[in-house]
């Protein structure tokens, strides 16, 4: 089966700034994938290259087995962008009908209105809708062509918690029809709630990837941090029993492990000369932050 999206060694430079730095991504069809990362991580740049809106500096993007940005793909891919204002002068219904006219196999107006929850506002001018309603109209526009692949750039910005929950349900319903969905977000809980697969992006690179369960397994880790008078080289830290990740923050060494009892015992018996021990359980948020933060000393197994 062809992959929904493949990015191979993708690089995008804006002058000296490298927004996307040798990114490799590969998404299966029929899945919901989240690109998770802080602002400025390169999520929108990546989406723009997948859509063919900007050309990569080097590397390749293939979408549904085709080079990005082809005419055929515009029939089969729907996209929700950031910062697009509603068309002035047209009503909700007129906007949706206009967009339906662009595609050979459009989604029915009824279903678009169901999904956007704008049945009561069909005769209203799009420009008079509230922020959340506009976002929902834009979402319906992205679905007008009944797309196989849906790219959503920060879809829930400006939505309240309730609207967000409804939106996640809609995404899941759309994916259960066999559609592929790729969304970007900087909310960990959003990626966790909706995605089958999460790619964590930082500084233009994929720093971790997997199912939410696999990424969450790391959050079950506990951390042991301490001072060490004569610590060995960093590579040796990972050979200690149960250690999955290690980082060094100034004088303190921090080790991440599923199970800390054996680890502590080993440490106490070692020649490291450890003192000032602190044991904590790391949260999902901590893991995310340590993955995406600027702490370059993080070593991930």
């Amino acid at each position: 089966m062809t992959k929904a999206i493949e990015c191979i060694n993708l690089v995008k430079k804006f002058g000296d700034y490298c927004a996307v730095d040798h990114m490799n991504l590969s998404f299966e069809q029929g899945q919901i994938t989240a690109l998770l990362g802080p602002n400025g991580a390169g999520k929108t740049t990546t989406i723009s290259m997948i859509l063919g809106m900007i050309k990569p500096t080097s590397g390749e993007v293939r979408v549904l087995g085709m080079p990005s940005g082809t005419k055929e793909l515009r029939q089969r891919v729907g996209a929700l962008l950031q910062d697009v204002k509603a068309a002035d002068g047209l009503t909700v219904k007129e906007v949706l009908q206009l967009f339906r006219n662009y595609y050979r196999n459009p989604m029915s107006l009824e279903r678009l209105l169901d999904i956007s929850g704008l049945h009561g506002d069909v005769k209203r001018r799009a420009s008079t809708l509230s922020g959340g309603q506009r976002r929902r109209l834009a979402f319906a526009q992205s679905l007008a062509g009944n797309p196989e692949l849906l790219l959503l750039d920060e879809p829930t910005v400006g939505m309240d918690i309730e609207a967000r929950g409804r939106f996640w349900d809609t995404i899941q319903a759309l994916a259960s029809d066999g559609r592929t969905v790729l969304l970007t977000t900087h909310h960990l809980e959003e990626a966790d709630a909706v995605a089958d697969h999460i790619a964590v992006i930082a500084r233009g690179q994929v720093v971790a990837e997997g199912t939410p369960e696999r990424l969450k397994a790391q959050t079950a880790l506990r951390t042991v941090s301490f001072r060490a008078a004569n610590a060995p080289a960093e590579q040796e830290w990972l050979t200690l029993p149960g250690v999955e990740k290690a980082e060094c923050n100034g004088e303190r060494i921090r080790l991440y492990a599923q199970e800390t009892d054996v680890l502590l015992f080993t440490l106490m018996q070692s020649e490291w000369g450890i003192s000032d021990i602190d044991i904590q359980s790391a949260s999902l948020e901590d893991t995310f932050r340590s993955l995406t933060g600027s702490n370059k000393q993080a070593i991930i197994r």
Binding site: M53, A79, V84, K85, A87, Y102, R104
Partner: protein, 247 residues
């Protein structure tokens, strides 16, 4: 392809007609100025072998169409660029040729409506001495001549900042109208203004219609300047769009 074009043209026309700026600056203001200038100078008072009631009608219709082309086509293009609308449309199967083609067709349809509305309003209020042929020929001249100003609009539309576009658009519209002799005849303007004005496409645009109501043909210089400016603006805007796409 055809149904896409029809749907897009319909949507673009609706957007222009529903715009409050269109009603105000393309219909209400030119009509108000027409009735003001005509009554101030005397509807039946003669000017250039015609009367003020007819002379000013042609000037103000030309003024309205220049404004409609510059703002509804040009400034709107800048806004659509700035608002991300163009970016969004590029991701749909709508091709740029169909998009811009439908914009031009809807713009021309609206120009025709503007001519009919202004001519009808004047004809109903004042007793205007024009033959049916003159009405139709003047209307056609103004309609087809407005293409040159659409080209000017396209050039203005290459500006990515909509606020700059609005500012330049307003200056252009007013400047072309006043210096081109659409408000006051060139002969009543300071002589330096008159000598600039007679070379402006706006003056040539109105002059063709003034000649026709006086029973003559448009001067060849009217054709030359109007077509030349139109082609120049068109080529310039195509050049700018292409260069931007290449980057």
């Amino acid at each position: 392809m055809l149904h896409m074009f029809v749907a897009q043209t319909k949507a673009e026309s609706i957007r222009i007609i529903r715009s409050p700026f269109f009603l105000l600056f393309s219909i209400a203001m030119p009509l108000a100025f027409y009735f003001l200038f005509a009554s101030m100078n005397g509807v039946d008072k003669s000017i250039k072998s015609t009367t003020w009631g007819v002379f000013s009608l042609m000037s103000m219709t030309a003024f309205s169409l220049i404004g409609t082309a510059v703002s509804q086509f040009g400034i709107r293009l800048s806004f659509e660029h700035q608002d991300g609308w163009v970016r969004l449309l590029k991701l749909t199967p709508l091709s740029p040729a169909v998009w811009i083609g439908s914009k031009i067709v809807s713009q021309m349809a609206v120009h025709l409506i503007v001519i009919v509305v202004i001519f009808l309003s004047a004809g109903l209020v004042h007793d205007i001495q024009l033959t049916a042929g003159q009405w139709i020929l003047c209307g056609l001249w103004l309609w087809i001549g407005s293409i040159s100003f659409l080209a000017l609009g396209a050039l203005l539309g290459t500006l990515k900042n909509a606020n700059t576009s609005v500012a330049i658009g307003n200056v252009l519209q007013m400047g072309l109208a006043i210096v081109g002799g659409l408000w006051m005849p060139l002969s009543t303007l300071p002589s330096w203004m008159g000598s600039v004005g007679e070379w402006l496409p706006s003056h040539r645009y109105a002059n063709g219609a003034w000649n026709m109501i006086a029973g003559q043909n448009p001067a060849s210089i009217d054709f030359i300047i109007l077509t030349g400016c139109g082609l120049l603006f068109m080529l310039l805007s195509i050049y700018i769009y292409n260069r931007r796409d290449a980057v």
